[in-house]
Amino acid sequence: MSPTATITQLKGASQQPEAETDCVANRIGTSGLALREKLIFEHSVQGRQGYSLPALDVPNAELSEALNREEIVGFPEVSEVDVVRHFTRLSTWNYGLDSGFYPLGSCTMKYNPKVNETVARLPGLAGCHPHTPEHLSQGALGLMFDLQNALAEISGFDAVTLQPAAGAHGELTGVQMIRAWHESRGNSRKKVLIPDTAHGTNPATAALCGYDVVPIASGDSGILSAETVAEYMNDDVAALMVTNPNTLGLFESDIRKICDIVHQGGGLVYCDGANLNALMGIARPGDMGMDVMHFNLHKTFSTPHGGGGPGAGPVGVSEKLIPFLPKPVVVHEDGRYRLDFDRPQSFGRMRSFFGNFGIMVRGWAYILTMGGAGLKQASEMAVLNANYIRARLEGVYHLPYKNRSLHEAVFSDKQLGGGCHTLDLAKRLIDYGYHPPTIYFPLVVHGSIMIEPTETESKEVLDEFCEAMLEIARESMNQPELLLNAPSLTAVGRLDETAAARNPRLCYKPAE
C-alpha cells in the first residue's frame, strides 16, 4: 500500500480532519472550494490593456520635457477579464453583512437596503457636479435640507451640518464648535473630560483641538455618576464628551444632572452619537441637555460600511452653537434652496464641498422608508435583540455590568476554559460561519466581547448564534485547541500581526 493510500484511509476512517466533522447542529461554517489570487501587479504583461478610449478628436498636445512624465513605473498592464477575476476572487475572501450575522459591537451592522444603492446611482444624483449653479441643483440641495431637518427632529437638536465624512470627523467638527463658542466668549479653557469607556476617537479628537484630555473612571456600574462629574468639573473644563448609550450598551441615566453640572460649570456636553440606534423615537440627546452630537449615517441610518467607509458623520447642535457651524449651510428661502457661505462666526470647513452626498442619499432613502414609526420600531427591536442575546449567554459568559443593556451586550472572557481568550473565541466564531463581535473594546472590560446584533436580525439567527457561542464555551473546556488554532476553515490561518508591525511591508515591490 502506498503512503498516500494510507493517508486516504485514515481520512476515510474516524479520524477525519476537523474541517469535515461539522456535525454541530446549526453550524453554518463549513469547508469549501476557495480560489487563490495573486497581486494585480503579478498579472501584468507588457502591452495588455483593460481600457478603451474614443480616438482623440483634437490635435495632440505636449508638455515641455521638464514636466512630461515618461512612465508610471510599476503600474500594471492587464486585460479587463484579469481585473474582473482578480477583484471577484478577492471579494470571496471577505465576509459581508450579506454573507451572514455580523455582530460587531459599536458598529451597528444593520442590513444595508438595496433600494438605497439603486437611488444613490441615479444619474441625476450621482452625476451632479458640486459646482453646479444652485438653481440647477435644487434636487441635491433640497435633499440635504430635508435630511438636516429630519436628523434634527430625530436627535432633538436645533440645526445639523452634513459636512463631516465620518463619525470621528463629526467629533472634530463638534469639538471645533465647542472651542469656537468658548473663544467667542473670551474663554480659553484647556480641558475635556472623557470617561474611560469612550471610543479612542474621543480623546484623539479633543487633542486635535488643542485640548488636554482628562479621563474619568466610569466606576462599578459602568455609567458616569453625577457626583464624579461634579468632582472633575472646574473652570478649566471646556467640555465633557460622553457616549449615550455608552460603549457598554448602558444608558447614562444621570445624563440630565450631568449636563446641568457641566453647564453650570460653564462647559458644554458633546454626545458621541454612535449608539443612536438604541434611542430613535424613544429619547433625544438634545432633550437630555447635550449641546452637540455626531450621527453615523453608516451605522444608525443603514448606509453600507464599504470595508471601512465612506460614511457620513453629520453633527447636530443646540441653538447656541448654530453661528459656529462649518460653512456652507443649506438654507431654504423664498421656495428655493441655497448654500449659505456668509457665516462670519463659522469655525471654517472640514473638507471640500458639502460632505459625502452619496451617503446622504442612502440615509435619506432609509429615513423615507422607515418613517418615524419605523425608526422607533428599529430601536426597540435592536434593544430587544441585544437583551435576548444577553439573556441567552449570561451565566456561561461573564457579564461584567449588570445594568439593563440597550442595543448591545458586553461580556468578558473570564469564564472561557483551557487558557482561551477573547481573540480565540473570535477566531473560532469564524469557523462557525460568523463574523466575530468587537473585541478588547471598551477597554474597561478585560477581554471584552462586545455584541451588537441590530434590529435586522431575526430570532432564528440570534438563536443559532447563541448556540454557537455556547458550544464554543464548551469547546474551550473540552477541546481548547479548537479555539487556540482557529480559524481552521479560512484560506489563510491566524495571521502574525506582530511580525507585520515589526517589519512593515506596505507596498509591493517586484523583488519582494
Partner: protein
Amino acid sequence: MRYIPHTDEDVRQMLETIGVNSTEDLFTEIPQEVRLGRPLDLSAPMSETEVIKEMKRLAAQNATAETHSTFLGGGAYNHFIPSVIDQLISRSEFYTAYTPYQPEISQGTLQAIYEYQTLICQLTGMEVSNASMYDGASACAEAVLMAARATRRKKVLLATSLHPEYRETVATYCRHLNIELLDVPYLETGKLDQQSLASLLDKETAAVVAGYPNFFGVIEELAPLADAAHDVGALLVTAVAEPVALGKIKSPGELGADIVVGEGQSFGMPVSYGGPGVGFFAARQKTVRSMPGRLVGATRDKDGKTGYVLTLSTREQHIRREKATSNICSNQGLCVLIAAIYLSLLGKQGLKEVASQNLAKAEYAKQAISALPGFSIPFSGPTFNEFVVEVPGDVDALLLKLEERGILAGLPLKRYFAGMEQRLLVCVTEQNTREEIETLVDALKGGAA
C-alpha cells in the same frame, strides 16, 4: 417592515426569555424626563416604489453631464467610469463589510488596500501610502499636521494658488494647534512666487504646501520648491486635486516632494455633488510612523501563507487615544477599492492616454477661447485640463446665456478670490468631445457679444 424580521410571536418569546413583559420594560434605565413623549415628526413610511419615485423627482431637478455640456472642475472632475467598477464594488462581500479588523475573513478588502497603497506610491513616486483619508482637503490638512510633527516646527507656508477649500480646511485643522500659516503669492504665470517663498522660509518652517496642478490648473515647478524647502529642513507637501494629471506630469516624488496628498475622485468615482471621493496620502518611508490613518501590511499565517493585516496601529486613536497621529477611524474604504480597480483597468498605458487626451482637449479649448475677442487667458504657465479665462462683461449674465444653450461653462472665481470678478475656471476632460468644445467656444463668443 421588510427590514425588521420580528413577528409578534417572536417578540413575545424573546421577551419571555429575557424575563420582562414588554419592550417598554427594556428601556427602564432611560428616565421618563428625557423620554420623547410623542411620535417623531417625520413622514409616514414609504414603500420602495414611492422612495424611488421621490428620489427620481429630486434627481430630475439637478443638472448633470447627461443634461448639459459641462466644463466644471475645480476639485471634482467628470471622467469616464468603466462599467466594470460598479459591478465589482457592488459585490456585497466588499461593500457590506466593515473595516477589516478580522483579517482572516477580510483578505479581500486587505489585499485590495495593499494594492491601492502600492498604486498610489507608484503614481506619486512615494514610498508609503496610507489606506485613505476623507478627501483631498482633509488629507492636505493632515499632511500639514504630520509635517509639523515630523519636523517639530510650527510654521507652514501655503500657496495662495492651492485650492481655496483645501486652504480653508488646513486653517481649520491648524487653528488650535499653534501652527502659523503664511501665504505664498503667485506670479503672472499662475505659479508660486519662488522669491517670496525664499523670503518666508526659515529654520522654523515645517512645510511648504503647493497644489500640483494648482487651483488655476497651472502646473507648478516642484523641484525648486523642494530644494528651497529642504535647504531649511522643511518638507514639501504637494496636493493633487486632479490626479489624472499624474499620468502625464512628473511625479511629485521624483521632483522631491516629501508628502503627497490629493483627491482620488477622478479615479472612477462619480462627481456625486462633491462626495464621496477619497483622500490619498503618501510619504517617505522614514516618516511612516508619524503618518495618520490606517495602513495595511503583508505578513504570514502560521503555515507561512501570505496574508494582509492592518498594521502599525500604535499610531492610531484606538490604541494611542489622545496621542494618536490623527483621530480618523472610518476612512473612504469603498472608494479605495474603486481607485484600485480604475487604476488597474487603465494601467500604465491607459492613465497616460487619458491624461494626454485631457491635456490635448483643454489645450484645444484654451487656444480657441484665447482667440475670441474680449477673452484672455490671464495666467501664462502651462496647464493640464483646467485653465482660467478672463471674460468680457458680466460673468453671471454670460453663464446664464450659456446655460440656456445647455452649457455649464465653468466655475466663476469671484467666490474665492477678490479681484477675479471676470474670471472663470474652465475644465475640459476626455469626456468633452470636440463638438462640445466648439459649441462652448461659439456660445462664449455669442454670449459675450
